[in-house]
Symmetry: C2
């Protein structure tokens, strides 16, 4: 079973990409909707939540875990890996870093994400280790998550706020933009429009799905463990009306939500 968790809705962009590439595996998803959002909270609190989410997925039978949340991917991975050494973890920062590195021509890369993700400095660290000539320009964009969770994915106000967040990055002449939050692919069209055609977008949900698929195909024993067992179970810590509506539109299928209390 492939376990996937996120603070809320955003990780469903990863679920969709996994379903596209690995349609025969069973997925168990946990969205921490009772404590969402994570990106405005401290690294310590986010890591505490991430540990609880991981334990829940392991107890439900997950053999590999995808951290479909940039904030957790940015600040909690060393802790998760040391607490659960038996679990192969995938996160969304490394594959999007690699993709951006392969796409950029002028070595000017932009990053939008939550405040905690941007301030963690993880992308700066990765790029400076890989190629010191790369310049990373980042802008925390914390209002995009509430706008998306609210379903304002086509509203003019959302376009205006996206534009505002992108202006300082465009002024730096970036040619590549990392969508540093798994919610953002839900408004990819608006972001591409406001960024302009010359800027290439890196979609972390696609990149992590590619990485997971490669990993499973190279590891027959894991493949065996995961078994072929179609279907998806979606657990949430709170049932909110918006979640179900947006999730169904997004995954393009009827879904059932199961509520669990982690705290």
């Amino acid at each position: 079973m492939i376990g996937i968790f996120d603070s809320g809705l955003g990780g469903l962009t990863v679920v969709r990409e996994i379903l596209n590439r690995l349609p025969n595996y069973k997925i168990i998803y946990f969205g921490d909707t009772a404590r969402t959002p994570y990106g405005t909270k401290s690294a310590e609190t986010v890591t505490r939540y991430a540990i609880e989410n991981t334990k829940f997925l392991i107890n439900k039978g997950a053999k590999i875990i995808i951290v479909a949340c940039h904030t957790v991917s940015s600040v909690s991975m060393p802790t998760l890996k040391s607490l659960f050494p038996e679990i192969p973890f995938f996160e969304v920062v490394t594959p999007s870093f690699k993709k951006a590195l392969s796409l950029t021509k002028n070595k000017k890369i932009g990053l939008i994400g939550t405040r905690t993700t941007v301030e963690s400095g993880i992308y700066n660290l990765l790029f400076s280790q890989a190629d010191p000539q790369i310049k990373l320009y980042s802008n925390p964009s914390p209002l995009l998550v509430p706008l998306i969770e609210e379903g304002w994915i086509k509203k003019p106000e959302t376009r205006k706020i996206v534009k505002k967040y992108l202006i300082p990055l465009k002024m730096k002449g970036i040619d590549t933009l990392i969508l540093g939050c798994t919610h953002y692919p839900l408004i990819k069209k608006i972001i591409q429009e406001k960024a302009g055609k010359r800027i290439k977008l890196v979609d972390p949900s696609q990149e992590v799905a590619i990485e997971v698929k490669e990993f499973i195909e190279k590891n027959p024993e894991i493949k065996q463990d995961l078994k072929y067992n179609e279907g998806i179970e979606i657990y949430v810590s709170d049932i909110t009306p918006n979640f179900k509506k947006i999730a169904q539109i997004f995954l393009n299928k009827k879904i059932e939500l199961i509520k669990v209390n982690l705290d």
Copy 2:
């Protein structure tokens, strides 16, 4: 000691009004910043959090409790009152309902608030019991909390979104508008500007503070219990950079935050 809690920052508008009217009492504040916001979550989850917050304040010595959160005031009061019968509770819905009732001339009242507050139907119930001729028009305005928590209290995007939320209420010809969320007094100027001069605003933070002051003055034994003991202790479940900054500007004094884990 007067205990006050909110999902985050909004309840500080109540703290300010209490400090203005009862400067000699000790206040203990709890902001559930690790699980904020409440207004997008279900009544069940909000009530679970409210119980934990109340227990925390009682353990710290609170003798009366002000629920400085509309979402909790709308959905959790019967549970809180039955679980803690010894505690006098004050909430923000009833005093703002009373104020609106006394202000309206044309009996058309508007309400903005979080989705959970508006959908609880509590204001509809109160007005229909008090005067069946009153028409209440409400519009959930869930993006205002993240905009305020983000500190965008003077930005043009915030003005635009406020305007958008108020248009349907203005079209109904309301003469009174309830700010149904303790965050909203932080952008009262913008709301007044977009509502227009003819609409009177009801500020729940002021109304609850007036009610608490009257209660204390009428109950000498409670007054004795609360003692004269200046000062404020602010507890939060997560220390976020924005909270401290905005809280200090807002209360106009240096504050220390103390972190506690409730879950």
